[in-house]
Symmetry: C2
Subunit: 200 residues, 2 copies
């Protein structure tokens, strides 16, 4: 029997995805579910919906609520939380590096490192020097990983992830798919998504 | 010591508010929290955000997901769920009748009856005959309640609820406020909101 899979769809600039990234693997492991990490870009999906920026910027009440909501949840989970100076960050390079990590088996620790730097410590993940330092921290060759992230095959993979996300009806992050195309949206649906995967 | 209070903010046409309306009182009671039922209108708040309709209509991927998401949750809670033919319903008269019920002490059963008719049985809650039948069902004088719902004082109370909701930063429904102004949004935050109320 093959192991049940849960696909975790995330944009590396997404605040609520930070909450899920820090717990998805531990939560899935308990249930015997394998996590497939699929970074994508929310930008093109937002643009297709007519939004030029994050809804948290376009709708100030929603943005203010999001910060307070995550503050409360992060505090319950004993996670640090701080908004970076620029939000949303440009997550393009970080997402491409993550896809190099998917090839090499370090996408999970790299993703967690990016979120922790950004939303735990307010660092600018659009800065390649910040990404290099995070790669160092997880024991990877930063120069080599950043160079590979510029290869056409990696760029295409990110485009493909974004297109597949959109075709699955994904409109925000984090999202989860189980049993191929059963879609769950939001950190608050993670338990339900894992349960669905175990029954698939 | 006065009893802790949780204010439940809802639009009678809101799908996710249906989920909360059917469980808020039982959940709060266990914790010794009193529920204050405050219907308001999402329409003016959506218009202020530049939306001419529900985001579930404006953003089809979001709308399709909402139906599936509520389907799954309603099924877990053994609640029927069906979308009415017209969505969102015009909830103006229903909200005014609910406010008459707030004066007389039957707002909770009336609210549940409206949601159950609409999202459990697909009935049109914009139709006064439907509201009259629901008032009958909960043992109220329908003619009298519908007539009182047209009084200026009742209309003003609904406008006031909507304005207060907006001033509290409310941008969707259901929302909950505890300890005066601590805001929680979404049926998935109800437990957290009740817990906050008990600690206030």
């Amino acid at each position: 029997m093959t192991k049940s899979k849960l696909t975790f769809w995330y944009d590396l600039a997404s605040t609520y995805s930070y909450l899920s990234a820090m717990r998805v693997e531990a939560l899935a492991e308990v249930e015997g579910v394998e996590v497939v990490w699929r970074p994508f870009l929310l930008g093109p999906i937002f643009v297709a919906q007519g939004w030029a920026s994050s809804p948290f910027n376009l709708y100030p009440a929603k943005g203010a609520y999001m910060v307070r909501d995550i503050d409360r949840i992060a505090s319950l989970r004993e996670l640090p939380f701080v908004m970076p100076k620029v939000f949303p960050s440009n997550s393009l390079t970080a997402a491409r590096v993550a896809l190099v990590g998917a090839e090499d088996g370090w996408i999970a620790p790299f993703t967690r490192a990016v979120y922790a730097a950004q939303f735990g410590a307010g660092q600018d993940i659009a800065d390649p020097a910040v990404l290099a330092s995070l790669l160092d921290d997880i024991g990877q060759d930063a120069g080599r990983a950043l160079a590979r992230a510029t290869q056409p095959a990696v760029k295409d993979r990110l485009k493909d992830n974004t297109e597949v996300a959109q075709s699955l009806g994904i409109f925000g992050a984090p999202s989860f798919t189980a049993d191929d195309d059963e879609l769950f949206w939001g950190d608050d649906r993670l338990e339900q998504a894992v349960a669905w995967a175990t029954q698939a």
